[in-house]
Amino acid sequence: MTVRVQEADFDVGVELEQLTAGNKRIGGLAVFVGLVREVHVREGYHRDRVDAMTLEHYPGMTEQALVEIEAEAHRRWPLEATLMVHRYGRLEAGDRIVLVAVGSPHREAAFEACEFLVDWLKTKAPFWKLEETPAGEKWVGAHAGDDRSAARWDKK
């Protein structure tokens, strides 16, 4: 179980190599890599081109939130290895923002837990995006769709 919040980029190949090294019980690895999109489509008619963004976070709380989300995934699925790396600071279109990787004996648990981790990370970890557009800076608003995605995993 590893959680990192960092300004620097990450190398997906190296990260996956390290995550699985020495663990032969892993039969499947599900991986999500989030990138900065060049075009950000807003709700309604209006569109803005996003050239770059700055990700702000809450040092200390962010790491703790990610550790708790990761622990919840381990309670729900039989997982052998998990990794969450989230960047902060200024990122340009095409840059990697986030890496979530999940190793499990079987693929179903790996796929499900990976989706769960990304959904909860988006709604429960303290990060905020400030986008740079030709019209100026703009704080990104929360998306109802993200809340709905995260709510899928609520225990009834």
């Binding site: 923002i97 988006k122 429960k124 303290p126 905020w128 990104v140 929360a142 993200d146």
Partner: protein, 83 residues
């Protein structure tokens, strides 16, 4: 206690953090919000009734009903938009 603001709330309030000493009758996060609103027009705008923001007490998400007893750091922030 230390109060911290993030994202657009930091800009609206005008500071990223401040030391405050609320009176004894301020015992919950919600009461702290109401008390902080009187500090400046920026505070009043950022912490307005109906503004979409959440809170954390000592770096853990907290409801407005959460008790402040012994809190070192209270933070206010807009909904999260990471990932």
């Amino acid at each position: 206690m230390k109060v911290r603001y993030f994202a657009w709330m930091k800009r609206t309030v005008g500071v990223a953090e401040e030391e405050v000493t609320p009176p004894a009758e301020v015992t919950t996060v919600g009461e702290l919000v109401a008390w902080l609103r009187h500090r400046s027009p920026g505070h009043a705008e950022a912490l307005a009734d109906g503004a979409a923001f959440g809170a954390a007490v000592d770096k853990r998400t907290a409801t407005f009903g959460a008790k402040l007893a012994g809190a070192q750091e209270v933070a206010f922030f807009p909904p999260f938009t990471g990932g």
